[in-house]
Each structure stands twice: as structure tokens, then as C-alpha cells.
């Protein structure tokens, strides 16, 4: 009885193809809804195009076309000027899930698992049945190839519907054309996605044609970015499966295997790992038993190994380019960026870059705009689940004069870019970065640094505002007040230029007569020390002046007395002499906009 049931069950058990699995689990790849499908498709195609151009050291020019065919069927075209794909590879790149060149490499890249674009091909096949058309050309001396592809969902093998050589106006590049059922409900998000992509790819030019509208996201830099180099795995960042795959073909002694195939492992470290694992260094690496392999990997985690080389395998955008891109796409008053030094989690190198923008045309209501990126790819969904968001919410923004309600609020834009050989995502749809303490710590450090800059900017701005407010009070209202008050008390309008000098932060010179003594006073209300010449021209000889003038000339009945004066910021200077006043008072050698002269004996 039991036996027959087991046999019964065994008849139902069979392996399912990867393609079949993903057909049933579309949500894992970002195809859970028609609106989202369109964004995911473009995202995958653009990521591939950017990666290809980067590898070929070409400045990317990418065209994205979206055109409604009929009803809810859309034709998506993504065309790049990349190196092209050799014709025999085309079916595999587009028609086989989990096929890719970068999967086993340890360096920063956009697409990693090679699921992306072929998932879109599959999605098209499932919704419209129209095969995907790929045109590619690898150089001017070769013809372009046009291939129509579908995926055999049973075997996960590409199914070539047609293949032919054609004329194409591009000398090199790839064009993919996919038709599927969707909707443009998420149009705004799509444009946002391209805008954000342009921000973190300052060297790329993206052109979007959406039905009849064209939007251009131009490049701000003509420098081809350095393609990150693959590095060997780091002993701290390796898992048992990968180690096993590396050990099987190995023909060296264990010590040599370790120092040849891992980064930052020299002869000494290799010996230490072997000792700790209790394995002789001259063991044949390929002959380790599973138990020994397990001991080896444990020893590898325990031994101290320098951090992997970061600069080589990662390509941060750089502070200046982030700033330039943000200034291009957003109108903001303040923008600063930070690229943190490289760091490591579980043997995986990573770099955090962050930027803060403030003011300008950013919306004043609601939460700050958060722009999340992983390896130069914008993360558009699941903001709340992302470690970047959590790191931002965990900070105390009030310290930087920014209001906060969970997230910081107001006219604020926060950009965070996580670049890593292995960005830890919460799921395969790659929407949210998983909470890794090392990464969160680096994000917070970068943002705290930027927050301090922002606070400085805000306090300077407030100070300027206060000064402007005072200037407004003094220049526009005080004269009216003086006139009205004079009318009430029936006196001449008082001279308020002295108050103006004080409030406006100028250098004020005053001359008055105090029972037969002329007093000339200078008060420097500016923030800078001032050096100037003071000219007093009057019938007074000023023989007894204290301090005396630096030189005096006489012209008929008038004496021109000149003092050379230096007054520090906030300081004052005074001279007195016997006389009857009158004449003129003049300051030279200083910007006339900075001075106010008040003659009180006229």
C-alpha cells in the first residue's frame, strides 16, 4: 500500500525548468503587474546597454522608444551604441534565463544574475506571443544581424524564429524590440527612473520617445568611466558551494591554491589558514573531503586577512559628477556630495556615496525625496523596506535644522549610492538593499558629514535673511517712521543715516560739535577691518587734534586735514579738535557702498 503511494507520488515528481519556474513566479523579477513590467523591461535593457558600453569604453547613447500598438499592447525599443553581440551569442543572451558573462565575476556591475532581459522576452511571449526582435552589429566591417527569438519554457533554451543579415545604419550597437501587454499608468515613475539613471550615469545620454513626446537626459561628463576590474574572491566573502567549485579542478598544493585564487592571501596567510584548518599545506587541493572543505572554509573566516582591494573592482561616481548631475536634473539651492572610502562586509568590498540637495524647486510639503541607487541603478520600489531608508530615518535630522517625522521632511533631496561587488538585496527583484550593519554605518557617516554642511548652509542663509529683513526695516520703513514721528512732534525729520549704517553693517563716520570741540568718530560695523583716508575740509586748523592729522594743507581759508586710519571690525576711532565745524567730511580708499557719513553739525 505504502509502496504504491510512493510510486504514485514519484510519477508526479519531475524537474521543472527555470523558465517554467519564473513563469509562475513573475513577481520575483519585477513583472508582477503590467505597469511594473514596462519599467522592469526598460530597466533591464538600459542596464545591459550601460554595462556593455562601459566594458567597451564607449560613451553611451541610448534610445528608448515606447509606442502603443493597439489597445494595451506596447512596443518597447531600446537601442544602444555599445559593442554589439556576436550573432551566435544573441539567442543565449536574450533567450535563456540565467545566462550571463558577469555572474561569476567579482566586480561592480549593474545586471548580475543574467535573468533580467530574458525575463522580459518571456513576459512578452506570455502576454502577446510576439517574438522579440534583436538587431546587433559588432563593427563596421561586419554585417548587422536580425534575430527573432522566443524561449522554450520547457527546456529554458532559446527558440530562434528567424535569423538574417540586414543593412543597419549603426556601425556597432544593439537594438532590442519587445512587444507586450502593459499600461502606461506608471508613466511618471518611468520618466523618474530614466532621470535618476541619468543622475548616476553622468557619462550617458538617454533619449526617451514616449508616443510623440521626446525627453532628453543629456550627459554632463565626456569622460568614459573606468570599467571596474574583476578581482579574485576574498577569503571572508566566500561560501562553501563556490569554494567547492574552485577546488574540484585545482591541481595545486593547498597553500598555492589559496594564494593563487584568493585576493590578499600571501604565503604566510595561506600557511596560517592550513594550520588552523589542521590540513597540511602540501595536500593536493583537489583531494579534500567535504569535511575537510568545511574545516578549510571555517579557517578562512577566522584568519585575519587584509580587506580586499576596493579601488580596482568598484567604480564610484565621484562627488563632483554627482553634484553636476543633480544640478542638471533638479533646481536646487544647495547640493553637496560625499564619496566614502571603500569598506568591506563579509569579504565584499563596497563604497557608499551620498548627496544632499536643499531648497530651490524641490517640493516643500511631505517627506524628503530619497534617491536610492545600487551599482548605478535606481531602486524604484519598496522604499520602506530598504536599509538606505532605514538608515536615513534612524538619523536625528533635527541636529541639522531639518524637521523630521520618521523621515526628514521639507525641501530636501537625499541620494545614496551603494556600489559593491555584491550588493545585498532583500529579494531577486532587487528593489531594496538588505540591512547590513557595515553598510548602514557608512551611509550614516556620509549623511552626517553632509548634514553638517547643510546646517552651515542653512544658518548662513538664515543670517542673510535676518540681515535682509533688517535692511528692509531700515531702508523702507524707518524713513517713513521718522517722517511720521516728526509730523506728530512737529519737528524736522530726524537724520537716521547713522542707524542705517549700524543696521546695514557699514562703516559710519560722524562729525558733531560738542561745545566748541569738533568730534569726528568712525565706527566700523562691517565684518572686515577697514583701512582708509579721512578728509576733513573746513576753516578749522585743528592744531590741537588728538590724534593729529597725518598731513594738513591750506588753501586760502580752508584747511584740508587727512588722517590715515585702520579700524578693525566692530572697532571705533575718534579725533577731537577745537573749532567751529562746518566744511565737508569725506572717506577715501574704501568702497562707497560700505560707508555712511553723518554730518551732525550742519
Amino acid at each position: 500500500m505504502g509502496v504504491s503511494l510512493a510510486e504514485e507520488l514519484a510519477r508526479q515528481q519531475r524537474s521543472i525548468s527555470v523558465a517554467e519556474f519564473f513563469e509562475r513566479n513573475k513577481h520575483l523579477l519585477g513583472f508582477d503587474s503590467p505597469t511594473r513590467g514596462i519599467i522592469t523591461t526598460i530597466k533591464e535593457a538600459v542596464d545591459n546597454a550601460l554595462d556593455a558600453c562601459e566594458e567597451a569604453r564607449i560613451l553611451p547613447d541610448i534610445y528608448i522608444g515606447i509606442r502603443r500598438q493597439s489597445g494595451d499592447v506596447f512596443r518597447i525599443v531600446v537601442e544602444d551604441n555599445g559593442p554589439g553581440i556576436v550573432s551566435r551569442q544573441i539567442p543565449f543572451v536574450f533567450g535563456k534565463l540565467l545566462y550571463g558573462s558577469r555572474f561569476h565575476q567579482i566586480r561592480q556591475s549593474r545586471g548580475q544574475q543574467g535573468i533580467g532581459i530574458s525575463a522580459a522576452v518571456l513576459y512578452a511571449q506570455l502576454t502577446t506571443g510576439v517574438p522579440t526582435v534583436v538587431i546587433s552589429r559588432t563593427g563596421p566591417d561586419r554585417p548587422a544581424v536580425r534575430v527573432e527569438i522566443q524561449i522554450d519554457v520547457g527546456t529554458n533554451e532559446p527558440d530562434i524564429v528567424s535569423q538574417q543579415e540586414i543593412e543597419w545604419d549603426r556601425t556597432h550597437g544593439t537594438r532590442v524590440q519587445i512587444e507586450f501587454r502593459s499600461s502606461l499608468a506608471a508613466r511618471k515613475r518611468l520618466v523618474e527612473y530614466l532621470k535618476y539613471t541619468s543622475v548616476v550615469n553622468p557619462h550617458a545620454r538617454l533619449r526617451l520617445e514616449l508616443d510623440d513626446e521626446t525627453i532628453l537626459f543629456d550627459r554632463v561628463s565626456d569622460e568614459v568611466i573606468t570599467c571596474p576590474q574583476a578581482i579574485k574572491p576574498h577569503p571572508h566573502g566566500i561560501e562553501i558551494g563556490q569554494l567547492r567549485r574552485m577546488l574540484i579542478p585545482a591541481k595545486e598544493h593547498l597553500e598555492d591554491f589559496l594564494s593563487n585564487h584568493f585576493s590578499r592571501v600571501g604565503a604566510r596567510t595561506a600557511r596560517e589558514i592550513c594550520t588552523r584548518a589542521g590540513l597540511p599545506g602540501n595536500r593536493d587541493a583537489g583531494s579534500l573531503s567535504p569535511k575537510e572543505q568545511k574545516r578549510l572554509i571555517e579557517a578562512m573566516q577566522e584568519v585575519k586577512v587584509p580587506a580586499p582591494p576596493v579601488a580596482q573592482c568598484l567604480s564610484p561616481i565621484g562627488e563632483e559628477l554627482i553634484i553636476r548631475s543633480l544640478e542638471k536634473e533638479f533646481q536646487i539651492d544647495f547640493v553637496r556630495a560625499r564619496t566614502r572610502p571603500g569598506s568591506v562586509f563579509s569579504g565584499h568590498p563596497f563604497i557608499i556615496e551620498a548627496a544632499i540637495g536643499y531648497g530651490g524647486k524641490l517640493p516643500a510639503d511631505g517627506n524628503a525625496q530619497i534617491l536610492r541607487f545600487a551599482n548605478r541603478v535606481p531602486l524604484m520600489y519598496q522604499q520602506g523596506a530598504c536599509a538606505i531608508t532605514q538608515a536615513i530615518a534612524g538619523m536625528s535630522w533635527k541636529n541639522y535644522s531639518i524637521p523630521q517625522a520618521g523621515l526628514p521632511t521639507g525641501q530636501l533631496l537625499i541620494l545614496v549610492h551603494v556600489a559593491s561587488t555584491n550588493v545585498p538585496f532583500t529579494s531577486e527583484s532587487k528593489d531594496a538593499v538588505a540591512g547590513i550593519p557595515e553598510i548602514e554605518r557608512e551611509i550614516v557617516l556620509a549623511l552626517q558629514d553632509l548634514g553638517r554642511d547643510l546646517k552651515l548652509f542653512l544658518s548662513r542663509r538664515d543670517r542673510n535673511r535676518l540681515q535682509e529683513d533688517r535692511a528692509q526695516a531700515v531702508c523702507a520703513i524707518l524713513p517713513d517712521l521718522a517722517a511720521k514721528v516728526a509730523e506728530i512732534v512737529e519737528e524736522p525729520i530726524p537724520n537716521i543715516s547713522y542707524i542705517e549704517g549700524r543696521v546695514m553693517r557699514r562703516l559710519v563716520a560722524r562729525k558733531r560739535i560738542d561745545s566748541g570741540t569738533v568730534v569726528i568718530e568712525l565706527v566700523n560695523y562691517t565684518a572686515q577691518p577697514a583701512t582708509l583716508s579721512l578728509y576733513s575740509i573746513s576753516p578749522d586748523a585743528a592744531d590741537d587734534a588728538r590724534p593729529p592729522p597725518d598731513f594738513v594743507t591750506r588753501l586760502e581759508d580752508e584747511y584740508t586735514k587727512v588722517w590715515q586710519i585702520s579700524v578693525g571690525a566692530g572697532e571705533s576711532w575718534q579725533t577731537r579738535f577745537t573749532g567751529s565745524g562746518g566744511g565737508t567730511l569725506e572717506l577715501r580708499g574704501i568702497d562707497p557702498r560700505q560707508i555712511v557719513v553723518v554730518d551732525q553739525d550742519v
Binding site: A473, L481, K484, V485
Partner: protein, 362 residues
């Protein structure tokens, strides 16, 4: 003080504010004014005058910021306007002042609250009442009925008026400027100030004024300044007791408080407006219980108002703490006219005489 003396004093004090600014500006200082802060936290009991006045907290407005400079400019325009108004012997209402400012360009008022507030500032700065600036409030004065003789200086000369014999059924209407009244003589044992018109009319109809030799004053809800001022003057000049008869709810206790202790808004002239010896006759929360008066349940706002009164320094006596506490427990409120449930004469024959004798007035 004669009318012209009062005018001169008001002009002198108003111009004095402008003169101070003039001196400040001529001396190179930014003009400024200092005023007590007008909040519940800044009123204090003045032992000498037995009323609540502003405390020592002051705030200074200096024309160094655009907002304050504009405030001073508006004040200058108002002073200029009032000075002319007084010299031309004209007057205007607070509302008219607000409209007149239309032509003042930058100094134009944005809302009437703003001009009202500014006038209160001027009262504080000059230590005078707005009536001295020839400014009238919008509301008409309340009425008086009872054995009181006074002389009013009207535009058409002085008039002698007896507030029972020379007036109609509704009584004598109190003018907005009580300073134009001279109190001559009386034949009263006490003054009873009444919140509602219905109860005021009931007392007149029942002959309460002649039977008990009472001066009846109709408060018309929250009493106008002129009403409070005349209560203050009768009490001060004749030394006869004042009792206050209102509904039994938190809002009515505030009416009593503004008569007895002064209002927060006008704490700067409390000694002119408040009658500290005024006593609360009812309706007390204990009356609701003792007389089993028809009543309503307290609503949320009533409860909040009662709780706020528990923190108001003017209600900090044991009597009020007990009564308010009782009302919160009963969760009931009653109107004065609820006594009608026991017959139209009950209030004048039983309730008021009983309360007055308990309070030692009769």
C-alpha cells in the same frame, strides 16, 4: 477732570510716545517700545488695588526687524490720527479706525484684531482708556434700572437723570464713555448685575428694585468696558455692595471674573474696570443640586473651560475650587431662568433674598 483737560492729557501722552521715538532716532538708536506680555502667565494680583494686573514680564519691540518696524509705523500713524481727532473734537469707532487705515499705505491694518490690539497697546503705554482717545467700541452700552440719580454730559448739554423715574421700561442706557457721567446720589442697598435680559426684565416686572432698593444692571452677556466701569464707579463712590447674577456655567463664571478681577485683555486698566468687592450670587453649582433646577449635561467645551478655570489664578480661591469641582462631578449646568420651574416669583421672593442674607448684603 474736565473734558478739555482730559483731551490735553491724552494728546500729551500719545505725543510722548512719538517724542521718545524721535529722541531715539535723533540719537542714532533704533526706536523701540516695551510692553508687558499679555498672557495668562503674566497677570498678577495687586494687593493695593485688589485687582489682577499685568506682571513684570515685558517684551520689547524694536524697529530693527521689518515686522516690528512696521508695527511701530502703524502705531505712529494711529497716534497721528488720534492726535488730530482729539484736537478736532471728533470721535470714531474701532471699526471705523480699521477702515480709515485703508489710505495709510504700508501702515494699513490687515485685520481688525490688529488695530484693536494696537489700541490696547496704546492704552497700556499711556495708562489711559481708549475713550480718552475719542475711540468708541462697536457694542452699545448696557442698561441700568434703579434708585440712582446721575448727570450725563451730552452733546446737547448736561442732563439730570433718575434711573427709575426718568427712564422707560428698559432703563437708562449707559454711554460708551462713562467719564462723561457724574454720579449724584442714590437710595440703594446694593447693585445686582444680571447676565440675561430675560432675568433683568423679570426683576423689573416683579418690582425687585423698589422692594429691595436695588440698582439693576443688565450685563448683556460679557459686559462691555463701560458697563464694568460704571459698576466700578458706583461701588467706589457710594460704597454699596455689588452682586453678580449669571447662568450656572463656566462661561458665566468668566463674566463674573471679568467684573470682579478684570479681564486678561484689559489687565492694564483693571483698577478702573474691576470691582474687586463684587460677589457672585449665582447660579451656583450647589444651587443646581439644592434646588434641583432643570439642567443640561456639560459638553466637552464646558468641561475644558471648567478645567482651564481651575488653573486660572482668578479662580484660585477655595470657594471656586469647591464649586467648579462640584459642577464637574454633577456634570450639569443650568440657566438663571431655570428658577421659573418653581414659579415666576420664586427668584425674587425666595432665592435672591435667601442668597442675599446668607451673603450678608441684606
Amino acid at each position: 477732570m474736565s473734558r478739555s483737560q482730559l483731551d490735553n492729557l491724552a494728546t500729551e501722552r500719545l505725543v510722548g510716545i512719538a517724542r521718545k521715538w524721535y529722541r531715539q532716532m535723533a540719537g542714532g538708536e533704533i526706536p523701540s517700545i516695551s510692553l508687558p506680555t499679555r498672557t495668562k502667565q503674566n497677570i498678577a494680583y495687586d494687593d493695593e488695588t485688589e485687582v489682577w494686573k499685568y506682571g513684570n514680564r515685558e517684551s520689547t519691540r524694536s524697529a530693527g526687524t521689518a515686522k516690528s518696524a512696521l508695527h511701530l509705523l502703524k502705531m505712529a500713524w494711529v497716534i497721528w490720527f488720534l492726535k488730530n481727532q482729539i484736537s478736532e473734537n471728533r470721535s470714531s469707532t474701532l471699526r471705523e479706525l480699521y477702515y480709515i487705515s485703508e489710505g495709510w499705505k504700508k501702515a494699513k491694518f490687515q485685520a481688525q484684531d490688529e488695530s484693536n490690539f494696537l489700541i490696547e497697546d496704546l492704552e497700556i503705554l499711556t495708562d489711559m482708556q481708549r475713550e480718552a482717545f475719542h475711540l468708541r467700541p462697536e457694542e452699545d452700552g448696557a442698561t441700568i434700572f434703579g434708585p440712582l440719580r446721575l448727570k450725563e454730559l451730552t452733546r446737547r448739554g448736561a442732563r439730570d437723570i433718575h434711573c427709575q423715574d426718568d427712564v422707560g421700561e428698559a432703563g437708562y442706557q449707559i454711554p460708551t464713555n462713562v467719564e462723561n457721567i457724574e454720579l449724584l446720589d442714590h437710595d440703594a442697598q446694593f447693585v445686582i448685575a444680571i447676565e440675561t435680559g430675560g432675568m433683568y426684565a423679570r426683576l423689573i416686572e416683579n418690582g425687585f428694585d423698589s422692594e429691595f432698593r436695588a440698582i439693576l444692571v443688565h450685563l448683556k452677556g460679557q459686559p462691555a468696558r463701560s458697563t464694568r466701569r460704571i459698576l466700578n464707579r458706583i461701588n467706589d463712590q457710594f460704597g454699596i455692595p455689588v452682586v453678580v447674577f449669571t447662568d450656572g456655567d463656566p462661561w458665566s463664571y468668566r463674566i463674573y471674573a471679568s467684573i470682579a478681577y478684570g479681564a486678561i485683555k484689559s489687565a492694564h486698566i483693571s483698577d478702573l474696570l474691576a470691582t474687586p468687592k463684587a460677589q457672585f450670587i449665582g447660579v451656583q453649582p450647589s444651587d443646581i443640586r439644592d434646588y434641583n433646577l432643570p439642567s443640561d449635561h456639560l459638553n466637552e467645551k464646558d468641561i475644558a473651560a471648567l478645567k482651564s478655570e481651575l488653573t486660572d489664578p482668578r479662580f484660585s480661591s477655595d470657594y471656586w475650587k469647591e464649586q467648579i469641582g462640584l459642577q464637574l462631578t454633577l456634570n450639569l449646568k443650568s440657566e438663571q431662568q431655570a428658577f421659573a420651574a418653581r414659579g415666576l416669583d420664586f427668584v425674587t421672593k425666595e432665592y435672591l433674598p435667601a442668597r442675599l442674607s446668607v451673603m450678608g448684603v441684606l
